[in-house]
């Protein structure tokens, strides 16, 4: 009886799991909103990336390591972090089309106060958000996994 209870209860209690199931997706969507609207409202790649990382960390704390790693595994995290960095560098190198490195090379910047404006800045925001979110999440994975490995020994 005790053993079967123990097997079910990985992570925190039932109540925390239910609330996490309701709020984690909302927090993730809020992070994506802040990233995409970074050039017309407060926020941007750094704040949005931190919020996205926090939603994954919440899932990991509430449900335990395995379920969180099923959503975003270590190998996928390593690939995504490289993708974020390379995306930034690629957009920066595309600036040679307009003259030099890291230039905002779009000819027309679009109408202000709309989502599709400001040239390359939204793409930079997305790259930075991927980089920050996956970087902090992988730091957290590494800090948690070692504790688990030490317990098993």
């Amino acid at each position: 009886m005790v053993d079967s209870n123990k097997k079910e209860e990985i992570g925190m209690s039932f109540m925390v799991k239910t609330v996490t199931r309701l709020t984690a997706v909302v927090i993730l969507l809020f992070g994506i909103y802040i990233v995409l609207h970074g050039h017309i409202s407060p926020g941007g790649g750094f704040a949005g990336g931190l919020i996205i990382a926090l939603s994954f960390v919440q899932v990991m704390i509430a449900f335990g390591k395995d379920i969180a790693l099923r959503k975003l595994s270590e190998a996928k995290a390593a690939v995504l972090e490289s993708v974020g960095g390379l995306l930034f560098l690629t957009i920066a190198a595309l600036g040679f089309l307009g003259g030099h490195f890291l230039i905002n090379f779009f000819a027309s910047k679009g109408r202000p106060f709309t989502l599709f404006s400001a040239g390359t800045i939204p793409f930079y925001n997305i790259a930075i958000a991927i980089k920050v979110a996956v970087g902090l999440f992988s730091i957290f994975i590494v800090l948690v996994i070692l504790k688990r490995a030490k317990k098993e020994e």
Partner: protein, 175 residues
Amino acid sequence: MLELQLLLLFMISAAIIAVEAKDMISSVIALGTVGIGLCLGFLLLKAPDLAITQLVAEILCLIILIRATLKQDLPLVRDGRWFFNTFSTLCFIVIFLIFVFLALKEISVFGNPEMKIAKEILTGSLDKTGATNFITSVILDFRAYDTLGEATILFAAVIGVAAVMRKIGRNKPRA
């Protein structure tokens, strides 16, 4: 101005609690209080982007620190040179504050910064970049090299944590 001074006094008292508290958990939570006070200060000083980022970073910082402090505490030890060490440290800090007081006379007065570069950014940024959030337009257009450097530092920190935490010599026979 007055609310800013009150907020700073609140942060200073929380910092003193964080330094002097006996057990680690209350110390870490007092550090969180300092961070939340900093977030309120950013809001008062008209920096909403920073307030969002600081709030979220503070929560992650608390999670990481609490994960580290679930070990034992250390009692406060008073060995032979305790008074000498504390006295010399306090002397050093007082000298530091005196020099700070002298140096602050040379800085521009609070509330009237010299905005030579910022004036050009504030007037011409909308035509040049099209972004209406000026911080984003500075961070990703005028000074994008800073962001590139930040990405490098973040990558180095991830690699550093992974290298420090890896298990060395797991299969090696013990000498």
